[in-house]
Symmetry: C2
């Protein structure tokens, strides 16, 4: 079982989100969708903004690197006018529906809105449209984001992310093993299939 | 032509250094070795230590991720008692010899000393042994690190790294295109071979 931890504002989560469902299916690996928020995790590290904004050289590189990745994957990319966007509403809706059949389609629609279509994902109408694209009951699921029980349970999921040691997105976990970054998706899938390096790994940190 | 920018204290530079010469040769791509120092570049970003020490979650993850990488590559890994080590002496020697036939062997020997053998790479005797392993004229090249002209030229190479926008190691440059991280080596080699994504890349950042 592969668990996919993603933040809708996260740029590198975009290519991961677009391919993870097909990649997991091709490998015969089960997939759990787990939206979370980077804001509290970054704040705990002393950052009040994305490190890509705090460190301009890293940010400049990230956009170029992401462009190369998207070009290779055949994904459209349009740099958002605001980065990072506020993904709280979309994340709460995704959390409410994370075990629903439309979660993959909804997640991809939000990422496309953010990184390919230049839309404001904090707007209810954007979230509603993405729900409808994905086949979810739009109004009802949108309303669920305001449910105090959903808010509290989503906060608990964010606490779980912190306890797992997550510090960025996208992240993948398999039996407590953490993988960080779009470029680690294949490794995480291999780990979930039981393909794990032996020998050196056990000894290397002694 | 592929240019390899590396810092002897950098953990992820270790697996890159161990495989880059063979990988470039297999691809028919020329390789330039360019040692540099991360200290001044980190200081310019406000860091007085490795980000892997400043952000313990990132550090904890890095050692585990590096262990997985080394296990997969069949590389020994022993976590150094001191991280990051002071690689200035070794870097000056590597700079002095960066166009010599022994540069690859010397570079690998220093990384092995740091990340596999638990040695102190700041010591002249360690650097001397690595020169001898690599077939360089040990004493003469060791002495070159103290040459004011070598020191000044190495500082100019570090200024060039900063001008290229380098912010971490390992980094690879090809015709001004920057790639950061051990996991980008294959992309950089492909770029050097002229395999460059088109279409989306040109438009993506407009």
């Amino acid at each position: 079982m592969l668990t996919f931890w993603y933040e809708f504002a996260s740029s590198y989560s975009y290519p991961a989100a677009m391919r993870i469902e097909a990649a997991a299916k091709a490998a015969g690996v089960g997939l759990r969708w787990r939206p979370f928020l980077l804001g509290p995790i970054f704040a705990a590290q002393g950052w009040q903004d994305s490190p890509f904004n705090l460190y301009p050289l890293k940010g400049q590189y990230m956009w170029r690197d992401l462009a190369r990745i998207c070009a290779k994957e055949g994904l459209p990319l349009r740099r958002p006018s605001l980065f990072p966007q506020n993904g709280l509403l979309a994340a709460r809706v995704a959390f409410a529906g994370q075990n629903e059949p439309w979660i993959g389609g909804f997640t991809r629609a939000i990422y496309s809105a953010n990184f390919a279509e230049g839309e404001d994902i904090s707007k209810p109408e954007t979230v509603l449209r993405c729900l409808e694209v994905a086949g979810g009951e739009g109004e009802a699921w949108l309303a669920s984001a305001a449910d105090p029980a959903v808010k509290a349970a989503f906060k608990a999921q964010n606490d779980e992310a912190a306890e797992l040691g997550l510090f960025g997105a996208p992240s993948f976990t398999v039996d407590g093993e953490l993988f960080w970054g779009n470029d680690r998706l294949e490794q995480a899938i291999a780990w979930a299939k039981g393909e794990r390096p032996v020998g050196a790994l056990a000894l290397s940190l002694s």
